[in-house]
Symmetry: C3
Subunit: 350 residues, 3 copies
């Protein structure tokens, strides 16, 4: 397994999808099990039973504990074994599994994969439009991408691919994305990278068309990345010449979570600030997202990964264009954070 | 390939399934071909043609020899090439394949994977109820398990999993498997491990129900393991308070044979001492076995193996319960035998 | 990836199958993209976009350039980037992909994988019957073989397997392939290996039967191999006692091209010198080729490869028969050429 940032909140799913039926998920190479206890609170434990290694995700939640499917040991929210149903019922000290800090906020579930003492909830990215927030309607979804997660971050921080890969869904058509009608603005603030695109005097994309009724508008697509893999795309189409923040907004969240070296989870949310009660249009948005992410992005990202043949990104000496600034910046920040973390762990061990 | 015990009889199949149509099987990483010659005797040869490596299992038995499918070389039961149909027909010394000692007994085929000089037929486990033995009726079967074979032995030596994994097939329901109605008895005799369970005053399991007509009985489930992977479960349900050995008996054989590091063969036999002529009930037993082994055991054992991520069992520091004594004991005996064998081979080489 | 001969012309496909729709192919472990420019000439470039590694085979040919599907960079036939559609449009020096020498001749496409300065077109094997040559009719085809390519060369240089593996398609039946009616002649000229079989007084094979109308004839099957993987089978069936070169000829080409260590491309062409306009008979020839190569050869060669367990051919100490001379000779020549090439590269580097 490669080196991942441990001290980071990783999205582990959407709260609405979690019940007392346990869900297994692998994050940065570690198996977790997620479930809700009887009081509705969400719990994340190491997913491997400490007895004979059965996946706890195959188990059953009974009140506040999860019971392993294999020999019936029970574990509480702290990972402590509370029942050995066999023999004298003695519980050996090793019958204990790890518990991960978990925060449920704005409809998303976040787990902290690093040192629990370092977990700070205020570092969780702000998901203002999700989880039933007033004035927004939309949907959440998931796909698995068979590629190193950094390739997905590259993809999202460089929206110029929309024109070529997504002409019928979320991309702007070529003649408008070129030349003077498009302004880029890349900037880094601390460990946050901004990749802002403004397309002036453009026809709306297929995603906006059902909501934006003029022939042309100004599109502001402001992408923000925070380590390790959280991105928010604040995108709006305004009437020509109007300020960003007016008009139709379709913000989206893109949480890219490493599963293994060669696969990642992609949790997405897509919301809008207009026609909130039109379920049909929500379904149409979902169909466009599915086409863009599943049919257009995923295969190309996977192909790129295959083409890399397991080699390091920078070792392959990629051509770096002006429009790659944000992606390269994010890679550098991430790599610096990971190195710092390793050093810290090495120092603590020494 | 990991380290396996070589000086051991491994079950290679059920005699009734073998004809003059050759069968390929991989055991402890080695390819074998099995077939019957014209006199009906079973033969085991190395499965790779010494010429250009075609699988002999794709070949054709002609009288007493097997003819390779690729260029037609023929080999006898000792692995000697008896015909080269090409050119002058010269047979080079390398045109020879290994022959493995094979014993057919009580309906099972046993091959000896080690030094032929060390093969002792009296070490083959006693399969008293199989192969047409008087007073028994039943069936044999096979499944492949995608996991290290030792996890399957663990599974079989710890029958407490029945309650959780097999409640509707071969397991006893929870309230009776707990507490004073259950007695365990684990013991080791030489290299044989016994794992004996007695459930007093229990309703019969689903497997016994068609044959045992009282509401409750005493269940004696005596499991015996002999290295490398042979297990016999001597199980009976008796009227309350009657001695073990009376009542309905449904003994079973479980031959767990390593194929590779991450897969094994599971040959099973399931017999009974009552209602011998009821074919319908034999089919029902088969259906229960299929459900228990294929649908319940296999997926969990495979999952456990996946969860281990290729790491060593003891390195993962499993929680060891009282009920794990037999499984742990078997692992220790096996590992000791393998080490001794390696030493012996190293000494012989030196 | 293993060691392959680089300074060699490898068949990369049939010209008739190439259009302006790009085709991706991996040769000796390297990804290539092939396409035709607007003037119809065929181009071979490294298949990985130097920007973010998308497969150029997913791109689109626009006039004389290929446009990457991901962010739209365009590359010309020399691999130079001619357009960056983003920002100021600057083209960084790394935005360049490798171009491979490509020759289209007699209907086949040949790429040179080594030092371009060493490419000599006169080294391309003569394919006199293909590409619309006067007096010939036939078909071309392709299959992928999941095995080391040298096993396929072995297969083709030792036609004795026809009797056992192809009795109903391209093989001669056993009683005629044995004994005095068959003459072998193996010889090596420079780096070319000849494996010539003459079957006197034989019934025609299934492939010849529709064209050769006598009960028996003389079959001359002359196979020629040139490194790395080009084979021509010059085969004819003549009236008894007539000279080779008279009668029905069904020459075939077999271009075996390593894809990876464990897979190869098999491009074949099968032509005849009679009944040129009978399309139905061309289809029948194609069906026989498909059965012989796809259903009979491929599975056995793949099985042989699996049986080798990743070990070296000679380390497995294969039995070597008289009829293996040609195959062994080809292996030795190839290995010598590869060693010489490595030395040359090492010397140049030193
Ligand atoms: S593996 Fe979980 S209780 Fe045994
Ligand atoms: S591979 Fe068996 S005869 Fe050639
Ligand atoms: S990957 Fe080819 S243009 Fe970006």
């Amino acid at each position: 397994m490669g080196e991942f940032l441990r001290n980071s909140w990783y999205c582990a799913g959407w709260g609405a999808d979690l019940s007392d039926k346990p869900i297994g998920i692998k994050i940065i190479g570690e198996d977790l099990v997620l479930f809700r206890t009887s009081d509705g609170s969400a719990v994340a434990l190491a997913g491997r039973c400490p007895h004979r290694f059965a996946p706890l995700a195959q188990g059953k939640v009974i009140g506040d504990v999860i019971q392993c499917c294999y020999h019936g040991l029970q574990f509480d929210r702290n990972g402590a074994c509370t029942l050995n149903p066999h023999g004298q019922g003695k519980i050996p000290p090793r019958a204990h599994t790890r518990s991960y800090p978990l925060v449920e906020r704005n409809g998303a579930l976040w787990v902290w994969m690093g040192d629990p003492a370092a977990a700070r909830e205020d570092q969780i990215i702000d998901l203002y439009f999700c989880g039933g927030a007033e004035g927004w309607a939309g949907l959440t979804g998931y796909l698995k991408i068979k590629a190193d997660y950094q390739l997905v971050i590259d993809n999202l921080l460089d929206l110029t691919h929309g024109t070529y890969l997504h002409p019928d869904t979320v991309g702007v058509d070529p003649e408008h994305s070129l030349g003077s009608s498009l302004v880029y603005d890349f900037k880094t603030e601390g460990t946050t990278v901004h990749s802002n695109y403004s397309f002036f005097n453009s026809p709306p994309t297929a995603l906006f068309k059902p909501f934006f009724h003029s022939e042309r508008g100004d599109i502001f697509a402001f992408m923000r990345w925070e380590p390790a893999g959280a991105l928010i795309l604040d995108i709006s189409t305004t009437e020509l010449g109007m300020a960003k923040g007016t008009g139709v907004q379709i913000p989206s969240a893109h949480f890219i979570v490493p599963e293994t070296d060669n696969s990642c989870h992609y949790f997405f949310a897509l919301y809008r600030n207009v026609e909130l009660d039109d379920e049909e249009k929500t379904r149409a948005m979902g169909a466009i997202a599915a086409k863009a992410f599943v049919e257009e992005d995923e295969p190309v990202i996977h192909d790129c990964y295959e083409m890399m043949n397991g080699e390091d990104f920078f070792d392959l000496e990629p051509a770096i264009l002006e429009t790659d600034v944000a992606g390269i910046q994010a890679r550098r920040i991430l790599s610096k954070l990971i190195r710092a973390e390793r050093r810290q762990i090495a120092d603590a061990d020494a």
